[in-house]
Amino acid sequence: MPIYLLRRVLAAIPVMLVVAVFVFLLLRLTPGDPAAILAGDMATPEQLDRIRESLGLNDPLLVQFVRWIGALLQGDFGTSLISNKPVIDLVADRMWPTIWIAIITLSLSVAIAVPMGVLAAWKQGSWVDHLVMTFSVLGFSIPVFVIGYLLIKLFAIDLKWLPVQGYKAPSDDFAGFAARAVLPALTLASIYIALIARMTRASLLDVLNEDYVRTARAKGLTERRVLFRHALRNAAVPVMTVIGTGFALLISGVVVTESVYNIPGLGRLTVDSIFARDYPVIQALILLTSGVYVMVNLLIDLSYSLLDPRIRY
């Protein structure tokens, strides 16, 4: 296991390096000029050129790349071209709202979706199954901003139970944090509940047709024991994959939900940085996202061995 872990971590290095090169080149080939955003609408061409010079944007691409990668190897992600703040601080500020919303969304999704999926598989073809599948289709089909606005209208505007928008750190004001996290988490969870419930149902139905389940039933085990002890554990492998990639997706940014609920997360930082062509911030965010995907995939693979003893590393 430790050798496998080391091999996987080492394998991530060339992946990240390739991502770094591609991101750097793609950004420089995209039309756009951070100096123009920095200087504003009234800047003359001459002033723009002076700002480009002071930001080092007039240097050859190779010089810029070596400068960036050299700093990166020393743990320095650079400074935002626009706000003049260290990129690491900008990302750290925006990371926690995104992480918290992701954790709450996935916890909520798993807590609701797995029982729903189990119930639908167990009662396959019944009205319960149809109800779960209908919900699943709706959860997939309705855009998140529609769900978001409907929830805001009901719970914030009409009932006035919850705030419309905003984010508070749990360490500053836990009640305020919780009140502001409910609606965005519910909004995002609508997709993940649909996805995980559907996956749990499908995976469980496959397993329920296996010989060992028939054997378990034949030897007189209760239906509950068959379902939870034998079937669900074996059905969990694909469900874990969905949960893991769901987490990576949530971390890499849910910009629509962040905009509707005014959450200062990584999604908005990414979009704002792209509009401003703030190269160091975009580069750091894409590297971070790639890192999260690599880590999540590794964790998913490791979780397989816990769920299925046949899988060994």
């Binding site: 920095l38 925006r94 005014n262």
Partner: protein, 510 residues
Amino acid sequence: MALLSALPAAAETTITAVMHSGLRVMDPVITTAHITRDNAFMIWDTLVAVDSDFVVQPQMANFDVSEDGLTYTFTLRDGLKWHDGGEVTPADCIASIKRWMVRDGGGQMINDRMESLEATGDKTFVLKLKEAFPYTLQAMAKPSGLALFMMPERIANTPADTAITEYIGSGPFKLVEDEFQPGVKVVYEKFDDYVPAPGPQSWFSGAKDVKVDRVEWVTMPDAQTTINALMNGEVDYVEGVPVDLLPLLEGLDNVKVDVLKKLGAVTIGRMNFLHPPFDNKKIRQAALKAISQEDVLTAMIGNPDYFQVCGAIFGCGTPFEFSDGSESLTTGGDIEGAKKLLEEAGYDGTPIVLMQPTDVATLTAQPIVAAQALRNAGFNVDLQPMDWQTLVTRRASQAKPSEGGWNLFFTGWIVPEVSNPLASIMLNGRGDKAWFGWPTDPEIEAMLNDFASTPDLEGQKAIAQKIQAHVMDNVNYIHLGQYFAPSGWSTSLKGVVNAPFPVFWGVEKE
């Protein structure tokens, strides 16, 4: 004593405001971005300031101009302090003025004529000019473009093309740096040592009395969420309420909606003078004739209560309001006249690359309406959608339109930015050194020079009228009228200030 200390402290009052965009750039000398200027007026103060009649008033300093117009003596008010406790000195002001002169057009004009700028006492400094420049105080007092803010000398010594990293001012509010999140939130606290200027508050002059403890600017990217938050009492002030969302706020007891920026903004179209077909004056005139202000403004704003057809390039409601040459623009366009001009010019069907930004709500409609009007007149229009960032990069290119250049784009300014011939950057006719579009126009340059050396308002008005007629004839740009963005605020706010952009002094919260 024990009883006193047991009394609850007075509740802290905080205004939560949603501004037109997130603050990311802090240095008001490096950028003309409006949000940076708005922030600068919170934390820095100006030497002199204009009132609502465009008259220059003392702000941090009283001023005296010699009879020959060559010597300006500035005397700092007593008790002026920086947010870090230091006293404001003439050396600070001189360094701030010198840094601003490198970047600002008006500042450069002063610098070109400057003989010396020196401290003459603990509170006094003198600007001496080699030749009279009556626009000097107006340039130093202008509220937008690159306004002149005073900073401590150590900060003002930063090269003008490098952004400052320390945000110490002497303005009515202090920045709470720990809580500043670029693009998300800016927090200000009342500066207790601020000494308001004498006289009534008017625009950016007079007493900047702060009546709340804190002001928080939060960025909200979604307009519907912003309106919901205002309705729910989660925010107190919204700088710009989209006109199509106004019905949601009508009839609410807890929200007031009004136009605070009475002068509003203008929208304009700018052509590229370097390449065909707009290097031909007649073809530029044909384009101007084809376009109707009312059509553009209707598509852009919709509700006629919030726009004004206005032929004056210096803005309606300003001292230099003239409308010479704007008849076709303000009376629905003249397609037949445009066709005739195109024929006379021998237009050969060269496509017009018209850049359309798709991500800036106030700039998406103009290109579409103009493209149709130009097509109706017989132009071959190549409308190219792109994001604003791509547009601002591409407009800096002098390449041929077919090789990554352009022919026409649209943008907007607040009226104070175009209300004076020397402030309006679009009037610069110095070819390569001019604003994007690069017109070479010695006639307008001569008129601007005349204006700069004319001391009396009547004389300036006569020249401004000539400039108006010239711009319409030469089509230095197409002036497309004026519009007014309504603001919304909680009725718990009292004394919300009418000004060309939001200010938070004078505002109380109940």
